[in-house]
C-alpha cells in the first residue's frame, strides 16, 4: 500500500495545520470560555432560566465589529451599539429626543446662562464596585478636553468644570450654550468613567495628560485598557470580547430598573441574509442588519417583528464652490432643479426614507418646513443657459463604505444627463474619499450626517464660512450671523426662528443639496418585549424581556 503512504503525507500537512489550531486556542481560552459560541445555544437560553435574573441571554446580530470600546475615543456606530448598554451619561435623550435625567437628577442654569449646575444621583455604583460622584464627571470630561479626543469639540464653550461637593457638578461656559445637554448627553461618547481609570488627566488647563503617550506598544500600564475593557454604570457590564462577538452580563447593582435578561451577546454578522436566517431560525433575537429592499417582505413575515421609524440622519450632496462653474449660484440652482429627489430616494432606500429639502426630519421640533425645489429639467436648462454654461462635465465622488451613495449617484448622474450635464461617478474607498474631501479635490460629493440631535450639530460647522466641516467652501455672511446668534440664543422659540431663517438661505444657496432622511429598520423575534426603536438609533436593551 505505497499509495496509502503518499496520502498519509498529504494528510499530515493538514493535520499539522489542525494541530496549530488547537495550540492557538489555548492562548485565548480564557476569553472564549464565556463569550464564544453562545450563539448555538441562544435559542435554548432564551426559554430556559440560566441563573442570574432568570431572563436568559439576548442575542443581537449587528452588522460590524466595534473598532474599540473606549467611549471617548471611538467614532464607530457599532461600538456605540454595545456601549449604549454599558455606560451612562449625565442626561439622556428620551424616545422623543428630549433630554431626561440619567446620572444627573436635575440641572439649572445661572441668570447669565454661563453656569450650569447639575445635581447627581447618590445611589450609583460602577461595575468595579466603586461609587459614582462628581469627581468621576470632572475626570471624564477633562479627559476628553485635555487629550483632545474625538469629542473635544463638544466642549468648545466650556471654561471650567467644578465639583463643589460629591453630588454637584458646575460647568462654567465662555458663552451661552443652549445645546449643552445635547453636547454632554446626546450619545454614549460622553460617557462617565471612574476617576483615574485611564491614567491621570490634567484639570482642563492644557498639559496634555500622561495617557497621551500610552497607546504606544506595550505601554498599557497599570490602568485598565478601555479599548477592550469597560467600567461603566449602565445596566450591563462587559464580560468578554472576542473576534466574533461581545458578551455583556446583567449588572446586579444597576441604579435604574432592570435589566430583565441575564445578559446580551452581540454577534457580528455582516451578511444580511445570514443575520436574517439566524433570526428566523431562532438563534438570534434581534438584528438591525436589514437591507431596505427586504423591508416589505419582512413586514409580511410572521417569523419576525419588523419596525421602522424615521431617523435623525440625513443624506445630501454638495458641489465645490471653489471650482468653476459651481461658484455660480445659478449653476447650483440648476443642479437642484435637475434632480428628482423622489427617484433618488426610491433607488437608494426603496420606501425606507423620506424626501427632505432640509436636514432635520419633519418629526422634530427643529424641522424647517421649506421645499422650494421641484424636478424641473426645463428650468434647470434655462438656468444653465443664463449662467452661460454648456457641455458641463463633472465628477461626483461617492464611497462604497456607504453603498447607498453609489446607487443614488447613478440616479443623479442619469438625471443630470437629461439636462446635458455629463457626470463621472468616482467611487472611492472611504479613506481616499475623506482624503480628497479634506484637500478639496472634488467637483461634488455625496454623504450623510448621522446621529445629530440639536440644530447646531445639523447646520453649524457645515455652513459657517470658517466651519470645520464646510468642505464645499460655502460662505454667506448673513448665514454666519444667524448661525452664530442661534448658537448662543437660549430662548427655544427664538432660536428655532434663527435656524429657520439660516436654513432657508442655506437651501436657496444650495450649500448642501439635501436629499432624504432614512428610516431606522430593526427586526426581532415575535414576543420580545420592552424594546423601543429610536430615531437616534441608540440600541438600549435595559428593559428587554425575551419571548417565553
Amino acid at each position: 500500500m505505497r499509495q496509502g503512504s503518499k496520502l498519509a503525507w498529504l494528510l499530515a500537512l493538514v493535520l499539522f495545520a489542525a494541530a496549530c489550531s488547537g495550540g492557538g486556542e489555548g492562548v485565548e481560552g480564557e476569553g472564549l470560555e464565556d463569550g464564544g459560541g453562545g450563539g448555538t445555544e441562544a435559542g435554548a437560553a432564551g426559554t430556559e432560566a440560566s441563573g442570574g435574573t432568570g431572563g436568559g441571554t439576548l442575542v443581537a446580530a449587528i452588522s460590524s465589529q466595534p473598532d474599540q470600546l473606549d467611549p471617548h475615543k471611538t467614532t464607530a456606530y457599532a461600538s456605540f451599539q454595545v456601549l449604549e448598554n454599558v455606560y451612562d451619561t449625565l442626561v439622556v435623550p428620551n424616545t422623543d429626543l428630549e433630554f431626561e435625567p440619567s446620572l444627573a437628577t436635575e440641572w439649572a442654569t445661572s441668570d447669565d446662562n454661563l453656569t450650569w449646575t447639575f445635581t447627581l444621583r447618590d445611589d450609583v455604583t460602577f461595575h468595579d464596585g466603586s461609587t459614582f460622584d462628581s469627581a468621576d464627571v470632572a475626570y471624564s470630561f477633562n479627559r476628553i478636553i485635555s487629550q483632545e479626543l474625538a469629542n473635544a469639540f463638544r466642549f468648545a464653550s466650556v471654561k471650567e468644570i467644578r465639583t463643589p461637593d460629591p453630588q454637584t457638578v458646575e460647568i462654567e461656559l465662555t458663552e451661552p450654550t443652549p445645546n449643552l445637554l445635547a453636547n454632554i448627553g446626546g450619545f454614549k461618547g460622553m460617557a462617565i468613567i471612574p476617576e483615574g481609570i485611564a491614567g491621570p488627566v490634567s484639570g482642563g488647563d492644557g498639559g496634555g495628560g500622561s495617557e497621551a503617550a500610552s497607546p504606544s506598544p506595550g505601554g498599557s500600564g497599570a490602568d485598565i485598557n478601555l479599548a477592550n475593557e469597560a467600567v461603566g454604570t449602565g445596566p450591563f457590564a462587559l464580560e468578554s470580547v472576542a473576534a466574533d462577538g461581545i458578551t455583556l452580563s446583567a449588572f446586579q447593582d444597576y441604579w435604574g430598573e432592570g435589566p430583565n435578561v441575564d445578559g446580551v451577546e452581540f454577534r457580528f454578522i455582516s451578511e444580511p441574509t445570514t443575520a436574517l436566517t439566524e433570526l428566523q431560525t431562532g438563534n438570534v433575537h434581534w438584528t438591525d442588519n436589514i437591507p431596505p429592499q427586504r423591508i416589505t417582505e419582512l413586514a409580511n413575515n410572521d417569523e419576525v417583528t419588523l419596525e421602522t421609524i424615521p431617523s435623525v440622519d440625513y443624506w445630501y450632496w454638495a458641489t465645490n464652490f471653489n471650482r468653476e462653474p459651481f461658484g455660480n449660484p445659478k449653476v447650483r440652482e440648476a443642479l437642484s432643479y435637475a434632480i428628482d429627489r423622489e427617484a433618488i430616494t426610491q433607488a437608494a432606500k426603496f420606501d425606507a426614507a423620506t424626501v427632505n429639502q432640509t436636514a432635520i426630519p419633519e418629526t422634530s421640533f427643529w424641522s424647517t418646513d421649506y421645499s422650494p425645489y421641484s424636478h424641473d429639467p426645463e428650468r434647470a436648462q434655462q438656468l444653465l443657459e443664463e449662467a452661460g454654461v454648456s457641455n458641463l462635465s463633472m465628477g461626483l465622488m461617492v464611497t462604497d463604505e456607504f453603498p447607498e451613495t453609489v446607487t443614488a449617484a447613478e440616479v443623479i448622474a442619469s438625471q443630470l444627463g437629461e439636462v446635458g450635464i455629463n457626470v463621472e461617478i468616482q467611487s472611492e474607498t472611504f479613506a481616499t474619499w475623506l482624503d480628497r474631501q479634506g484637500k478639496g479635490d472634488f467637483d461634488a460629493f455625496m454623504l450623510g450626517w448621522l446621529g445629530n440631535l440639536d440644530p447646531f450639530g445639523y447646520y453649524h460647522s457645515q455652513h459657517l464660512c470658517e466651519g470645520s466641516n464646510n468642505y464645499q467652501g460655502y460662505c454667506n455672511e448673513e448665514v454666519d450671523k444667524l448661525l452664530q446668534q442661534a448658537a448662543t440664543q437660549t430662548d427655544q422659540d427664538q432660536r428655532k426662528q434663527l435656524y429657520d431663517e439660516a436654513v432657508k438661505l442655506i437651501v436657496d444657496d444650495n450649500s448642501y443639496m439635501y436629499l432624504y432622511n432614512p428610516d431606522v429598520a430593526q427586526a426581532w423575534k415575535p414576543g420580545l418585549s420592552g424594546y423601543t426603536i429610536r430615531p437616534d438609533k441608540a440600541i438600549n436593551f435595559e428593559q428587554v424581556e425575551l419571548p417565553q
Binding site: 499509495q3 493538514v14 489555548g26 459560541g37 473606549d70 457580528f268 479613506a431
Partner: protein, 313 residues
Amino acid sequence: MAGYLARRGLQAVGVLLGVSVLVFAIIHLVPGDPVRLALGTRFDQETYEALRQRAGLDQPLVLQYFDWIGRALTGDLGVSFRSGRTVMSMIVERLPATLSLAAAAIVVALLIALPLGTLSAVRQGSKLDYAATTFSQAGISIPDFWMGILLILFFSLQLDLLPPSGYVSVLESPWGWFTHLLMPAVTVGVVSGSILTRFVRSSVLESLGEDFTRTARSKGLRERRVIRRHVLRNALVPVVTVTGLQLAYLLSGVVVVEAVFAWPGLGRLALDAVLARDYPVLQGAVLLFALFFLLVNLTVDVLYAFLDPRIRY
C-alpha cells in the same frame, strides 16, 4: 537535509525582510489617512494633529519603518490604531478560526479532487469525465458567496440542520466546531477542489502517456496496479505543489466566505485593516501571510523528496 533546511530558513528571513519593506512602502503610499478616517466626517484640525502625533505618523517614513521592524524582530508587532489592542493579540484571536477553515477546506478539496480527477483521467472521454469536467468548471465559476448563501438558505432555513453562521472553538465543543465549520468548509473546499480536480486530471493524463506506464503495462502488470504504483505516484508531485499554494491562499483568509458565515478569520481582519488604513495590523497580517507561504512552500519541497526518490536535497 539539515543543511538544506538551514539554507531555506535563512532565505526565508531574507524574503520576509524584503516583504516587510515592500508592504510598508506600499501601504504608506496608498492614499488615505488613518487619523482622518478615525475622526470620521467630524473633522477638527487640532484633534487631528494630536492624534497623528500620538500614532507616530508625524515621523519620517524611514524612521517609522526601522522603529516598526526593530520591534517586530522581538515579536512585538505594535498596537492597532483602530482598536488600541496589540496586533499580536488580534491575530492570535483569529488564528484558530482561519486554521480550522483552511485545513477543513483542503480536506474537502482533496476528497473531491483526488478521486474525481483520477477517475476522469483514467476514463478520459467517458460520461464520467464530462461530468467531472463540468463539475469543476461550475465550481470555479460559481461565486463562493452565492454558494454560501444558498447553503445557508437550504440547510439552515429550510431544513434547520446546521447553524447558519458563527465559530465555536474545538476545545469548547468539538461537535459545535464541526457543525459550524461544515458549510464554510464545503463552500471554500468546492472552489479549491474544482481547481485541484483539473490539475489532478491533467497530471494523471500526462503520466498515463509516459514511457514508464507503457513499460509497466507491457510487462503485464494489472491496470489497477499500474495506476496506483506508477501513474499516481508520478502524478502527485505537481498536485502537491498546487495543493500547497491553495492552502497558503486559504490561510491568508477567505474574506467573502468569512463575511457570509460570520467566520472570525484573518481575511476580515486584513480587509478591515486595509479599509481603515490601520497600518500596524495590516503590516502584521501581511507578514504572517508571507510566513504562511514560506512555510507551506518549504513543506511542499520536503514532501517532494518523499514522493519522488530521485529528488534529494
